[in-house]
Symmetry: C2
Subunit: 280 residues, 2 copies
């Protein structure tokens, strides 16, 4: 089978590597505005050849859209214009309501499957692609009833070859859940990095003292704005909702400390400890 | 050499394991209020025998205080009452100003060395002790001029056998830096866990969707209040100072989103990305 990946970076690259390795696809066309990325992707065995969008789509049974969510939303309608009833288009974006809305009335809507693999790192570009990234992670298919059964089946096969655990959700519900589970973590981490950079002027001290706890909490703050600004923008209402709650929760810690109310502080911590029962 | 560890948990246990493995000590007395921990520590090869505090101190050249910072501060004066000029006492607490203040006028103050190994996990108890935990991490000695040269040398040797990178600081400065680098990360993580637990009532969804990013940001929220309430309490002023700054930073993200000011949002993220240059 022939595959097109539009965007040869972290996610697109990791998917292509795995699908080639599993012989699910035997030829991969790479489409990328970044010529350097196309060269790297070819060198790294992610793609067989760089191609124009039109040529790649014409020759592929499966087209994977792996670019930032705002560009994906803009590009998807014109991709669907080009496909026939034997081709499948899937995205991998972290927000879903916007992209399904963008094609809700498209005549080829049912060739599209909205997909979100719950994996990522703070890195980007073909060089950060890792073949086994998705194993054991959740993969979410949204609004499956709007996709043709054979297109849906194709994406389910992709998820199976990526060794992911499949979940099905409404796009709206997906965006609410990812605001809690993923998007707020990034804002927290960015804000934490900015706090430390603002307050701790001695960079050497940060570097020398940084504990494993700090490093893991602040890791996501290395993530690039090209990917994350569009996510926050598309999921603005949900993210604001969770961000307000997060500020409220931080204020409780502040209040407990200010009032020397250590019983309350302990209660807040014991409540947070419940996450231990949920995440392993 | 004979060693006493008071508190046979994560930190005390990990230190004893490593020092035995390196043959820096040939006998370890364990002192712990928790009888079960003493049994586990013996089984795990952390200690040779459980002992009363008095007996252990009488027979040891080195005494390591590895209990929560409030208990450590209370207990240290009576330990110093018992030691002579050939014995060294060190602590391993995450706050330093309180404990050095507690013994500033003690006749044996110079037998004490204030030490902080910058490592920990969200787990506790002897079973979570890991021999190689400290390798390559920062170890901070505070107010070294208040310790006798031979006591200081002893703790430097301990740090060397733990394979740590030694730093020297004033206790007050240490507490300011750790508020930034360690304590605020824990509060952020606790508050994030509480946010998700408050807003996301579907525990199954948290479990199924939780991405690696979320898991790493929220990992510290599993840390126990027995250890952390005393740390926040002892470092209250610094922690409040950093917490206020953190809330201010979060408000900037909120404001950028509310006003649809995505240039500003990008600027905030680009600034946070600078942490990439500091932490590897």
């Amino acid at each position: 089978m022939k595959l097109t990946i539009i965007g040869t970076g972290l996610i697109g690259g990791s998917i292509a590597l795995k699908l080639r390795e599993k012989h699910f696809v035997d030829h991969v066309y790479g489409v990328d505005q970044n010529e350097q990325h196309l060269l790297e992707a070819k060198e790294l065995g992610i793609i067989n050849e760089g191609s124009s969008l039109e040529n790649a789509i014409k020759n592929s049974e499966l087209i994977i859209l792996a670019i930032p969510v705002d560009s994906a939303r803009k590009l998807l309608p014109s991709i669907l214009d080009l496909v026939n009833d034997h081709q499948t288009v899937m995205d991998v974006g972290s927000t879903k309501a916007g992209i399904v809305k963008a094609v809700e009335n498209h005549k080829n809507r049912n060739r599209f499957v909205a997909f979100h693999p719950m994996w990522g790192t703070e890195n980007s570009g073909p060089k950060s692609a890792i073949s086994d990234s998705f194993t054991g992670r959740a993969g979410v298919i949204c609004d499956k009833e709007d996709s043709a059964p054979d297109a849906l089946k194709m994406v389910e096969l992709v998820a199976e070859h990526l060794e992911m655990n499949l979940l099905y959700m409404e796009a709206e519900g997906h965006d609410v859940h990812t605001a809690y589970i993923s998007h707020i973590s990034h804002i927290t981490s960015y804000a934490l990095a900015n706090t430390v950079l603002e307050k701790e002027r001695e960079e050497d001290t940060i570097f020398q003292l940084a504990s494993s706890g700090f490093s893991s909490t602040v890791r996501l703050a290395k993530s690039h704005p090209e990917m994350w600004v569009p996510i926050f923008r598309q999921n603005k209402e949900n993210v604001l909702d969770v961000l307000n709650e997060h500020i409220t929760q931080l204020r409780k810690f502040k209040s407990a400390l200010e009032k020397d109310n250590y019983e309350y502080l302990e209660e807040l911590i014991r409540n947070a400890n419940k996450i231990r029962g949920i995440l392993r």
